[in-house]
Amino acid sequence: MDDTRWARARAQTQRFLPVMALAVVAVLAAACETNLPQSTTVIEGSHNATLWVPYRMVFILAAIVFVAVMALTVIFSITYRERPGRTARQFHGNTRLEIVWTLIPIIIVTLISVPTVNAIVAEAQPIAANALRVDAIGHQWWFEFVYLDEKVTTANELHIPEGREVAFNLKSVDVIHSFWVPQLAGKTDMVPGHVNDIKFTALRARPEPYLGQCAEFCGTSHANMRFRVFVHTEADFAAWLKSAAANGANPASALEKQGQEIFMRSACIGCHTVQGSAAAGKVGPDLTHVGSRTTIGSGILVNTPETLEKWIANSADVKPGSKMPPMAKSDGGALSKEEITAVAAYLSGLK
């Protein structure tokens, strides 16, 4: 048997193990950046701030229990391991201990439930009088936002003011989706036939958007159902709202003009709306100001004329299962490559 060799190798490994483990833990800990775009531990909204109270509490308690149980397991495993001369003590149990360790989890659970109930009550407060009211509607696979008091409809990019409550009606036209902007608020499902609600106040305006994503599995392109929330100062928000309520811009070039004509005589208008034009379809996203959006395809592509062309030609190429039929002749659609370029130019001009 080569037991002695094994034992020697084991002894050597044991000597270096702690050092190696520490090094590995240090490297891995460094890889745990918490300030990520969809991090739930970054508090930028009132809803997230409310639930952070029980959240922090469960974290601390979980860490204590974790360390305690792991420590006991390791200590017992080492202290009571089999070795010459050791015999097991024979006993069946201890009632007093049983009572103690029944009480420990009861106390922990009580500690968690107090902030939990507080947070539930806080969530159930009535909507503020000056709240901005928005219908958020889930579609396979994009989000529609309707500003109820303003006659503004947009898709996949939500603009809200800082410091003012935004109250959402959450709806769905097809399957169950879930509305989630981790840094601002926890998620609430969008259930067809139901109207759910969530409300939160964004704590500060900032130039880069907050990222949101559908959090309930909703079919093929569930992973591609993303959206962005832009938080503005009140003045900037008022300005945005004003421009968003305007009709679609007129074409600024010959190419855009040609694109508009093609758009208006094609299948496009069956599904899409451009305010102030003949296009009044309700199935797909409102395109009145599509040119001003930073992304297309519910947040999976940067919005440029080139990506728009790609999208129009065959959206399912970039977004599997996309409900928008391919427009390119090569993929069974009705538009030539030049026509698609013109339409993309027109759409890019819809600022």
Binding site: A31, T34, L36, P37, Q38, S39, T40, L51, Y55, V58, F59, A62, V65, F66, V69, L72, T73, F76, Y80, R86, T87, A88, Q90, F91, H92, L97, E98, T102, P105, V109, S113, T116, V117, A119, I120, V121, E123, Q140, V175, I176, S178, P182, G186, K187, D189, V191, P192, G193, D197, L211, A215, E216, F217, G219, T220, S221, H222, A223, N224, G321
Partner: protein, 597 residues
């Protein structure tokens, strides 16, 4: 069968036919075990494909539709075709042995349970040849309705789960009766091994939890195929009803998956600590409390569906209460280790690892019991971390412990320890590598069930890390398979009781004779063999009485074929239903008239 009387092992023939017609609980246990382990590997392959796709941002290994089918089938395979039947494998092989009986109460029903399970497994798995279900294992409507899932995948899901549920129901009824009615003299309820208690509790959970699922499945079947609108909001139906019925089943189901492992660990820890289980009654009552509370928590899977504040508070409180009996169990296992003389062989190592890994899963469970916290954790990788710590770190780790512990009893051979310990360490490292970072990924916002993610989100490193971990797990399982085949090539040399264990299954030979015990043992204490050892009580000598065993029967197989063929009628052609019904009626008729002595 007068000719058979008097010869003890008169049915112990080999050959395929003997396995197809067996009604011996030990052989059925082996059938369950081999089938389930094969599905465990198949489910693992699906997991590796999933992890490969997610290894890097914007991965392009697997297209979206296939990915959605893979994670759906991974869950269904692992839950219904691997972990549940692995538990059934242990309960089949061990229940009569541990309570001192010659077989289960209804041996032919037991065979029927297995063959119906096999039928359901074939139906569910064969969907890959047509169209696999791709709406998640929870199969939420309306996504799973005809409008948004027009293909046959969901119908396979409905039929497969109905058939598997039937199998589980029959098995559960059988084992509840066996444990309540067939115990050896002196084996009172409070002397039952903890594993048997867990089997009893699981049986009750299944008996009561399966019907709501069956009703939900029937309603979905009717919605999809016969024009009803139970879940169609456009006609007044409500998709939330599916979620309620599904989770009324789904939550007890979680305990069906984890309780066998808790039972196994409660058997293994005392043996290798060389001392009795600490707080036997506390562990038993904690098991009952978990099962009881498990009925009042289902809506915690639905905290984000827009439930009111009051139900959220109630279900949150019930859910948190489960932490109490769970904590009691963990502390009692630690109490069992305390003051012992721990022998860390593979079985023991897996059991101690179970305590650690299951504790992690338990703790994270309490975290999202708080509804406000859950709004951030629901449907993220944090939940995946939680459920895999419970089901992989908990259930499967416990099952490996059980395999190493009972392997000599089942086969007469001891698995190789050095390979076993290597497997253990790979497993322990792999599980933690794969699933611990998922906590972090969930907290930084990675949702579940996404086939792709952007580089900007910062999830790339840990996803790659997890994928490596998944392959470490795969290596560990591969080592086990090698160990299994190597061991099976050796001569059976294991003694009757190689571990000096206290429970009845070790009182008979390894492997046990077909009739289990030459003489039904008399039980004098909770750890009967240790009691007999310490009091110098010798085993009773055989009296030479004739032991009648139920003869083999092919009717269970025939009936199971009938049921399976009948069940595929709704997704193929009505002629199958008619054909299946004819076979089933013939099977029942033959079954009823078959002599059983």
């Amino acid at each position: 069968m007068a000719t058979a009387a008097g010869t003890l092992a008169h049915h112990a023939e080999s050959g395929v036919w003997s396995w197809l017609t067996t009604v011996d609980h030990k052989r059925i246990g082996v059938l369950y075990g081999i089938t389930a382990f094969s599905f465990f590997i198949w489910g693992g392959v699906q997991a590796l494909l999933i992890r490969t796709q997610l290894a890097v941002p914007n991965g392009e290994v697997i297209p979206a539709t296939l990915y959605n089918q893979l994670f759906t089938m991974h869950a269904l395979t692992m839950i219904f075709l691997a972990v549940m039947p692995l538990g059934a494998s242990f309960s089949n092989f061990l229940t009569p042995l541990m309570i001192g009986a010659r077989d289960v109460a209804f041996p032919r029903l037991n065979a029927l349970s297995f063959w119906v399970f096999a039928g359901g497994a074939v139906i569910l798995t064969s969907s890959f040849f047509f169209e696999a279900p791709g709406a998640g294992w929870f199969n939420y409507v309306p996504l799973a309705g005809r409008t948004y899932s027009p293909g046959q995948g969901i119908d396979f899901y409905v039929i497969g789960l109905t058939v598997l549920g039937l199998s589980s129901l029959m098995a559960a009824l059988n084992f509840a009766v066996t444990i309540m009615n067939m115990r050896a003299p002196g084996m009172t309820m409070m002397r039952l091994p903890v594993f048997i208690w867990m089997v009893l509790i699981i049986s009750f959970l299944l008996i009561l939890a399966l019907p709501p699922l069956t009703v939900a499945l029937i309603e979905l079947l009717f919605d999809r195929n016969y024009g009803t609108n139970f879940f169609n909001p456009a006609e007044g139906g409500d998709p939330i009803l599916w979620q309620h019925l599904f989770w009324i089943f789904g939550h007890p189901e979680v305990y069906v998956l984890i309780l066998p492992a808790m039972g196994i660990v409660s058997e293994v820890l005392p043996v290798f600590s060389r001392k009795p289980l600490f707080g036997y009654s506390a562990i038993v009552f904690a098991g009952m409390a978990i099962a009881f509370l498990g009925w009042a928590v289902w809506s915690h899977h639905m905290f984000t569906t827009g439930m009111g504040a009051v139900p959220r508070t109630i279900f949150a409180a019930n859910t948190m209460l489960i932490a109490v009996p769970t904590g009691v169990k963990i502390f009692n296992w630690l109490g069992t280790m305390y003051g012992g003389s721990l022998r860390f062989n593979t079985a023991m190592s897996f059991s101690v690892a179970f305590i650690a890994l299951f504790t992690i899963g338990g703790i994270s469970g309490v975290m999202h019991a708080s509804p406000p916290v859950d709004t951030q954790q629901q449907d993220t990788y944090f939940i995946i971390a939680h459920l895999h710590y419970v089901l992989v770190g908990g259930a499967v780790t416990g099952i490996f412990s059980g395999i190493f512990y009972w392997f000599p009893k089942m086969t007469g051979r001891l698995l190789d320890e050095r390979l076993g310990m290597t497997q253990f360490w790979l497993w322990f490292i792999g599980v933690n590598m794969t699933f611990f970072p998922m906590h972090y990924l969930g907290l930084v916002g990675m949702p579940r069930r996404i086939y792709t993610y952007d580089n900007d989100l910062g999830w790339g490193f840990w996803n790659m890390f997890e994928t490596v971990g998944a392959f470490v797990i795969a290596a560990s399982v591969l080592l086990f398979v090698i160990n299994f085949f190597r061991t099976m090539q050796q001569e059976p040399t294991a003694s009757d009781n190689p571990w000096d264990a206290p429970t009845l299954e070790w009182a008979t030979s390894s492997p046990p004779p077909e009739h289990d015990f030459d003489v039904i043992p008399v039980v004098r204490a909770r750890d009967p063999l240790w009691y007999n050892r310490d009091h110098n009580i010798q085993a009773e000598q055989p009296t030479g009485e004739h032991i009648h065993l139920p003869p083999p029967s092919y009717y269970p197989l025939l009936l199971a074929v009938g049921v399976s063929v009948l069940a595929v009628g709704p997704i193929s052609h009505i002629a199958f239903t008619a054909l299946g019904a004819v076979i089933a009626v013939y099977g029942i008729w033959g079954w009823a008239l078959e002599p059983t002595e």
